[in-house]
């Protein structure tokens, strides 16, 4: 059953708490992008995707599929997979520890349910998502394939190869998303490389493009509704989510400095206080 906006907000707050506690326990990881894409992925997994953690298999037959192309955002990914029931929430404590199923970047070699493909070497996930979408078409499986990319990641040429390919093969069962937070590890995206107007670029590539606010659940739901309506149009859809790196915690918000840095204990305490506790409870 679909979650209300209020319920989604509660989940997203808990996911942000999970992200911060995971990276602090592991003393490593990527909180910034995880927090900018938290609301998008919360809505995707709780209200949009047709999926059943209890019957999950890697081939994704009969279900929607998701690829995290920006593979470093494992904190948000694992939190959401756990909180939708793919594995016990308590397992989040093992993030990045020796022997864990929760590898630094997604792995298919540890039998962690919910992971369709390894990712982390940037620019490659959208191609894999194209393959999933083609496989579903061959199987006459009506379900959708989702893929989340980063804006910094979009500097990789392969993203644009996949962009051409998806249009040429009319992959209208593919909904790609970009976490357009404007930041990457070395600084603001426009100072590091300059990817320019992503909307104009994806439109020029022939995609159906939707630009939406990433921290407003009503806007997110509307964007997904529009994207799903693209099925049958012969075109893939790109939702460009305008987001804020480190969203939800004042000293982390809007700066590239938290792409891959971990808060100190007193900063964690401050951040958790800002987010507030939820009835869902910490892992």
């Amino acid at each position: 059953m679909a979650k209300s906006i209020q319920e989604l907000q509660t989940i997203a707050t808990q996911v942000r708490r999970d992200i911060l506690r995971m990276v602090c326990m592991a003393k490593s990881g990527h909180p910034g992008g995880s927090m900018s894409s938290t609301d998008i992925l919360t809505d995707l997994y709780f209200n949009q995707m047709k999926h059943n953690p209890a019957t999950w298999t890697r081939d994704g037959k009969g279900q929607d599929m998701f690829i995290l192309s920006a593979g470093h955002m494992t904190p948000v990914y694992y939190s959401i997979l756990a909180r939708t029931g793919y594995f016990p929430v308590s397992e989040l404590a093992s993030f990045r520890q020796m022997g864990t199923r929760l590898q630094g970047h997604p792995s298919v070699r540890k039998s962690l349910p919910g992971i369709f493909q390894a990712s982390g070497s940037l620019g490659q996930g959208l191609s894999a998502a194209c393959g999933l979408a083609m496989g579903k078409k061959l199987d006459k499986d009506d379900n959708l394939v989702y893929c989340l990319c980063g804006d910094g990641e979009s500097e990789e040429g392969q993203i644009w190869e996949a962009g051409m390919f998806a249009v040429f093969h009319k992959l209208d069962n593919l909904i790609a998303m970009t976490d357009w937070n404007g930041k990457q590890i070395d600084g603001p995206v426009e100072e590091v490389s300059g990817i320019g107007d992503l909307a104009a670029k994806w439109e020029a590539w022939g995609w159906k493009v939707i630009v939406a606010e990433a921290h407003d659940f009503e806007a997110i739901e509307k964007a997904f509704e529009l994207a799903k309506a693209g099925k049958g149009s012969g075109k893939p859809t790109m939702i460009l989510f305008k987001s804020e790196m480190g969203h939800g915690v004042d000293f982390m918000a809007g700066t590239h400095k938290w792409h891959g840095s971990v808060p100190k204990p007193e900063q964690l305490e401050d951040a958790l206080k800002q987010l507030g506790e939820t009835p869902l409870g910490d892992f």
Binding site: D59, Q124, S127, G135, E161, A162, M164, F165
Partner: protein, 317 residues
């Protein structure tokens, strides 16, 4: 000594094309992708018979590897085809992440491998691809020797569950193996038994090794010829047994020294059966334009060079 007859020169890439068609007919999950080299890879027959299972990717190899991985995740058996350089060196990271580490059932069809690509020159002549693919955990590396064997290796690759690198070539070369002999991954094939020296060869050098064995026989030397079509997994038992019997070894390959079959065989022998080994390979060099046969001779990969290496190995016993 068993004599092999060339039943008519054929290119190994056409063996791949024939095998792909058979594999596609046998299993509806077999699909194929190419990066603008459908004709060069001899994929036309498959594409014509199964148009919905054939995907043209344009000149974008990186995306092709990822798309193949995605197809494999949904249960398809994708063969991705391009020139050897462009499905290894150009996309090493994509293969590492999406195919090897991702453990997807992708078959990398690698044509125009080695120096016999010929006139296009060194930009297109990879002599390093076996090294790159061998280095990947779990990757199967196959390098069949003629049309018939390449056809059978393609069928075997389709039946095997897991990543496979299947290497073959451009020029027409002798076709001499049994067309009906099933290909067994991980098994060496004893082409000729001998007692003085073992010639391990792979790909196009197998025919050269057979010619070398005939020349050696005329000189009173009995050479065992073993076709190592399966470079990884490697038939260590067969290698050790033959080296133990003959006491002298030559490893011939259309590939450079670093990371090639020579090093693989030497490692096996160093551990289990220390034996004098001579290497016939492209050493540490780039290729150049020329006809395939002129290049094989110039780079020291043909029968006379193999025979010479055999005598050196025997002298070191």
């Amino acid at each position: 000594m068993k004599k092999y007859t060339d039943t008519g020169k054929k290119d190994t890439r056409s063996g791949f094309g024939a095998g792909l068609l058979k594999a596609g007919q046998a299993n509806p999950n077999v699909v194929a992708l190419t990066a603008d080299l459908k004709g060069s890879l001899k994929m036309d027959a498959f594409a014509a018979e199964f148009p919905e299972r054939f995907f043209q990717c344009g000149i974008a190899e990186a995306n092709m590897i990822g798309a193949a991985a995605g197809l494999a995740i949904t249960g398809k058996i994708p063969f991705v085809g391009s020139f050897a350089e462009f499905v290894t060196g150009r996309v090493y990271d994509q293969i590492r992440q999406e195919v090897a580490y991702g453990n997807t059932n992708v078959k990398i069809a690698s044509s125009h491998a080695g120096i016999t690509l010929g006139e296009d020159g060194a930009t297109h002549q990879t002599m390093e691809d076996i090294a790159l693919m061998r280095a990947l955990p779990g990757m199967v590396v196959l390098n069949p020797c003629d049309y018939n064997q390449t056809m059978q290796a393609t069928i075997a690759a389709a039946q095997y569950e897991g990543p496979v690198y299947l290497r073959f070539g451009r020029p027409s070369v002798p076709n001499f193996t049994d067309p009906d002999q099933p290909f067994v991954i991980g098994k060496a094939i004893v082409m000729n038994e001998g007692k003085d020296v073992t010639l391990f060869a792979t790909g196009h050098t197998v025919w050269e090794a057979l010619q070398a064995a005939e020349a050696l026989e005329a000189d009173g030397i009995s050479a065992e010829v073993i076709d190592i079509a399966s470079i990884k997994p490697l038939d260590e038992q067969a290698i050790v047994a033959s080296a133990k019997k003959t006491g002298a070894v030559v490893v011939a390959e259309e590939h450079n020294m670093a990371g090639g079959l020579g090093e693989a065989v030497a490692a096996v022998l160093a551990k289990a059966q220390p034996t004098p080994v001579e290497f016939v390979n492209g050493e540490d060099k780039f290729g150049q334009s020329g006809t395939p046969s002129a290049l094989m001779a110039a780079y020291g990969l043909d029968a006379p060079h193999i025979a010479e290496a055999a005598k050196k190995a025997i002298a070191r016993k």
